[in-house]
Amino acid sequence: MSGRRAVVTGLGVVSPVGIGADAAWQALVAGRSGIAEITLFDASAYDVHVAGEVKGFDATQHMDPKDARRHDRNTHFAVAAAGEALRHAGLLGSDDRLDASQADGDRFGIVLGTGIGGIGLIADGLQTLNERGPSRVSPFLLPHMIPDAASGMVAIQYGLRGHNLAVVSACATGGHAIGEAMEAIVRGQADLMLGAGTEAVVVPLAMAGFSQMKALGSPIDPDTGAYQPAMASRPFDATRDGFVVAEGCAVLVLEEAEHARARGATPIAEVIGYGSSADAFHMAAPAERGEGNQRAMRAALERAGIGPDEVDYINAHGTSTPLNDRYETVAIEEVFGEHARRLMVSSTKSMTGHMMGAAGAFEGFVCAKVIQTGCVPPTINLRHPDPELTLDYVPNEARQADVAVALSNSMGLGGHNSSIILRRYEA
């Protein structure tokens, strides 16, 4: 290969557990859940009315009010998180645009994935059409609702003119976005890339669809029977019964290592591996024994050029559905063999819920922070060991540990699998 390496030099987060990378990280380490009653609309008619909402977010703090009005919430999140990540990497000038002394905009690209894009705008547009007729539908609807509206708007807002697209692979999107961003740097298509995922699906129609799939976790404390939204996501627990819909965005600035060195930026970690596969099995159910997930993890290890026993931590897909958590455990056992017993595996979805197309990017952010800080966030709500699930899921409390290599799994409806591997950067 070319010898070009992709390092992480900036992080940005808008999430149910906090706005800003620091706030979110502190919540994860403290084991604080971001799951609560739905407030974005009246959900009282729904079977399940809890979600991982982003709280206290004001789009106009991050973008022009006119742009904010036209864009979907998923784009708002992306503009905010990208701004934080770029600032963190020292790439923005005083005008909040890319600082040309730090990087060439033509060589700075974006892969900003989403599961569905502007579904809130689509639903609004349909309502307008039905109630008030075609001439009242917004002329801004189409370019703002499409899944790549966020990647376009982030480019516009900050002046990033390189390789630019959105990847879509349902809940595996975030992993694909970071993997593709890494590849773009290694292959020389760009010197800097934003690898990111964004999602804003807490809208009535989407919640109805999720609810009808009968795959949502119940917000009931399994021991006391008390109504407890923060207990709805219980990955790897014997009482787990479904996932929790969440929203948010995470952005990683990936930079060619030599480029980072030349401008004096500090690498937080290096993205060294990426694997992708399909189950070719079923639209909604995962393949037995996590067979596709196994192939994605193996491909990522091969791409990274490391053996399974070099991995210290896995941020699991861990959705809290009965099937996912079982098959993912089996897949880890198959790929890592004996070493699976020594690995730490945790699911931060126990706290954030499932951020869909943003999940893999958020979990990439978690892996970078684990490597940087030597602290592994826990799987909360894990009180009833499932006899079939016997890995070390870092139950309930964060753990100090020296982590040099971390892997993040993401899997999506339709049978997408993506795995990415980050490692402590050594020149």
Partner: protein, 415 residues
Amino acid sequence: MSGERRRAVVTGLGAITPIGNDAATFWTNLCGGVSGVAPISAYDASNEEVRIAAEVKDFDPRDWMDFKQARRMSRFSQLAVAAAAQAIADSGLEVTDANRDDIAVVLNTGGGGIGDVASAERVYLEQGPQRVSPFMVPMLSPSMAACQISILNGLRGPVVTSVAACASGVQAFFEAQRMIEHGDADVVIAGGTESAILPVAFAALANMGALSKRNDDPQGASRPFDAKRDGFVFGEAAGVMVIESAQHAERRGARAIAEVAGGAMTADAFHISAPEPSGYGATKAMQRAMRDAGVEPAQVDYIVAHGTSTPLNDATETKAIHGAFGEAAGRVAISSNKSMIGHTLGAAGAMSALAAACAIRDGLIPPTINYEHPDPACDLDYVPNTARQAPVKVALINGFGFGGQNAVAVFRSLD
């Protein structure tokens, strides 16, 4: 890279389009200057501002899948599954346990299952959340066309969907080429699909002023580069190619018709719907794509233009071609298949890829129809109105999207 680049060649074609439901018919009609634009049949548009579209005609999903599968699949997925089945059959590829892990799918789209969102929203508003279909979420996901192709054909390599608005379809082909070059797959089923002939999409696009309003002259409505163009005609389609490594094709004795030689993307970073007026981003994308493919402007014989028939796009694209080609711009043949099949958004790049590969294979360049009134801002050779016999060794395909994404791919003859 060390050693010889793994080359990616085209070995199978499939198409469901407004001018034919297989690749051969599509190509014959494209060269015959046949328009697929007609009054909208998908819904009653008689009182709407825009009443014409380039729809796929006589498509029965049950020719390609069983009834239950069809019922749980959005039309954009159905079109893609059918085009993929054709492409796989055309290539003679047999999927076996020995090769299925090394066959990838890159199937892009602009909007995915927006039609199902619209019908689910109606159910939701009229009957409440409990009546929304449990299949809605997996049906509408933009990646579902790729997944269905993977599931129905047992393909277990990477399955990826990228969205770059109207540039989506172009990106699929150089992504496929990169996967093959880097050994991520031996075979890639690559293409684009779109089906969004819906009142809400037409209302929004019409209110943007993006659509042609020549309702009483459907076949003359899409007129790229013509001085009297007034907007694009919305269309639906799916186009799929089987792309594989040259060694893999040779080993199994497959007939290759062209090589995917490279490509590139850039962003305008300018505006969410208008092209940047200097064409800077589009020029850069063409230059980088040529560099990636190792070809010089003077070697390019044919540009399959984005050519939407909007006043702004066609003038800006012309300017961008001048920027990228300099002197050579005047010598290259340029045509827009959107003059016949309208703008199929996420499938548009796949339509152009089919045109490029067939032009290379047959030495025939399809025309830009409805070209009657020269526009001083569009001063290149647009192959007006009739197809042209000419050897094509290198063809470029352009795709430019809302949000300012520019994608360009390069196809080359095999010798």
